[in-house]
């Protein structure tokens, strides 16, 4: 095998100009694959950060059978003993912060304008250290129970600015009307249109007073990272089987997971096109190179060289070409990332996001392996037909070919 490898390696350099042409074709394909996949992952990362640090956290914990279902009186299922549940959640070493919340629907009134909106009661001093993608475009985060912060779209709809007073009208859990006058502390812009157009936030205690309850609907969680969620899930099952934990990609399935699936499907298609272009690009070069060696192959076979051994030599040769091209492509991609794309790629708003963002390539270990292997496979496949065709020729035919 070592002997075959040596012969194949040397054969790569018999026509340096042709080898370089093939290498460049494979390398550009590999670099294209790597940069595109890195870009895709970068877009997903950016989107994920928006989703996690804008609203959902890494995941949320609900009462059992609560999430994803419609309930006539949802507050009856809310956690009655939120402090105890919070302690149970904090017992998981993967959890770094816990954010209790309640959500409710209400009318929001300013001047002559009344709009329906979805409100959330949160503990601002906890939330504003983690939910950094709220992006206050005016004012600041909640600093007291008599304050409210509004999504940009909602604020524009009721013509509210920081410092204005708005009235919330809602129903308590007992069905009585309740209301509060609150000062607009700030206007936020998460980039997610659905949130920015209808959401507002008040202090948790204010929300509980408006709803006339001490219960908490759910806990949003900060963890040690996306990959820590399975541990959180497992820990919570052990400590309290009545808790239902839902990761952010399920909470935001409509936007995040569907976007990820869409981008992945798109990448698979583009990847196929890149590989076909690589294969077609080097097919001609490989065919010409083999044709030039027909006489040599004939002479070797006339002296007893086995067809199967020549096949192995040629396949190893083309595999090496593919791997070298892939390696060169990786170097090109790294160089491009470190220079031309160092400042990120400015992107227009993505679906469901209303602000521009910069994408930084995120090239992961698996991507490098793919950039090495796929062009190699494309090169080997491109060489199969000309190699088989050459080796199927009789020895006199090979000798006459030169």
């Amino acid at each position: 095998m070592l002997e075959l490898l040596k012969i194949s390696w040397r054969n790569l350099f018999r026509n340096p100009r042709r080898t370089w042409a093939s290498l460049c074709t494979v390398a550009l394909g590999a670099a294209g694959l790597l940069i595109y996949q890195g870009f895709n992952t970068g877009v997903m990362n950016q989107y994920r950060e928006n989703v996690i640090h804008g609203y959902y956290g890494y995941g949320q914990v609900f009462p059992q059978n609560y999430y994803g279902k419609v309930h006539e009186t949802p507050w009856k299922l809310w956690f009655e003993n939120p402090e105890e549940i919070e302690q149970q959640i904090r017992s998981s070493s993967a959890v770094t912060q816990v954010f209790p919340r309640v959500s409710f629907y209400s009318f929001i009134v300013k001047g002559g304008i009344t709009l329906g909106g979805k409100g959330e009661g949160v503990i601002p001093e906890r939330e504003n250290t983690f939910f950094t993608e709220m992006n206050f475009i005016e004012g600041h985060d909640l600093q007291g129970q008599d304050q409210i912060i509004l999504g940009k779209g909602l604020a524009e709809s009721i013509d509210a600015k920081a410092g204005d007073v708005v009235t919330l009208l809602t129903q308590t859990v007992n069905g009585q009307l309740n209301g509060a006058d609150l000062t607009v502390a700030g206007i936020f812009f998460t980039g997610k249109k659905i949130i920015d157009d209808s959401f507002y936030r008040v202090d948790l205690k204010q929300a509980q007073q408006l709803l006339d309850t001490n219960r908490v609907e759910m806990f949003s969680l900060a963890t040690k990272g996306v990959e820590a969620w399975p541990q959180v899930d497992s820990d919570l099952r052990k400590v309290n089987p009545q808790l239902e934990s839902v990761p952010f990609e399920i909470l935001d399935k409509n936007y995040y997971q569907n976007s990820v699936d869409f981008l992945n499907a798109q990448f698979s298609f583009i990847r196929s096109i890149i590989l076909v272009i690589v294969a077609m690009g080097i097919f001609n070069v490989i065919s010409t190179g083999l044709l030039e060696r027909a006489g040599e192959m004939g002479a070797l076979r006339a002296n007893g060289e086995k067809r199967s051994r020549l096949f192995k030599i040629l396949m190893i040769e083309n595999s090496l070409l593919g791997i070298l091209g892939g390696f060169l492509g990786i170097c090109i991609a790294i160089l491009v990332d470190a220079t031309l794309l160092r400042q990120g790629i400015p992107m227009p708003p993505a679906p469901g996001i209303t602000r521009q963002f910069f994408v930084f390539l995120d090239i992961q270990a698996g991507h490098y392996i793919q950039a090495l292997l796929l062009p190699m496979i494309a090169t080997v496949l491109a060489s199969l037909w000309p190699v088989r065709k050459l080796l199927k020729k009789s020895i006199p035919e090979l000798l006459r070919s030169t």
Partner: protein
Amino acid sequence: MSALYRLKGLEYSYLWNGEQVPVLKGIDLELEKGCFTCIVGPSGTGKTTLLNLLGLIDTPSNGHLEFAGEDVTHLKESEKENVRLHKVGFVFQSFYLIPTLTVLENTSYFLPSLGYNQVNAHKVAMETLDLLGLADHAKKKPLELSGGQRQRVAIARAIAKKPAVVLADEPTANLDSVTAEKTINAFKELQKSENTSFIFSTHDSHLVSFAKSVYRMKDGQIDKGAV
């Protein structure tokens, strides 16, 4: 002396435009071991085809071919590969050396397939190169050598595996007269020292003058009157 080759009624034809075109029309021939034989004749009379059949790189259409006491007329390709590897050395007009390997590596190319380890393969290859006066060029690549030297490397590659016969198709055609002379001398030396059989297809009268036996081909047959 026992026969190296026995040919009886050997025929070869190929299909062209739906018709069989005869090339060899019933060759009867017997060649002894250790022979130094030339096959001569005008172009298109079937010299190369006869050499191809003797070297088992083509299959006769009819007739009987015996090589080293074995009927090889209808061997399978894998069996032919085996016979060629162990018993036949081929030398061509165009050398066909591997340009990326050194002279030594070209010479020892087939030896690992014959069971030699690398050390022994290089030892045998060096001895062969020494015999042909090329030991000093062992580390060079073929493109660094003259035409005659390259032809001698091709001969070294063919004889390093110690075949029963070396078949050479126009081995001196691309060489100047001085180099051709050296190459012919190399053949003669090997025939004497190794008792290797040599069969040439050639137009070179100088090479023919060294042959122990000469067969002239005419219209796909051995011209018996001219032998």
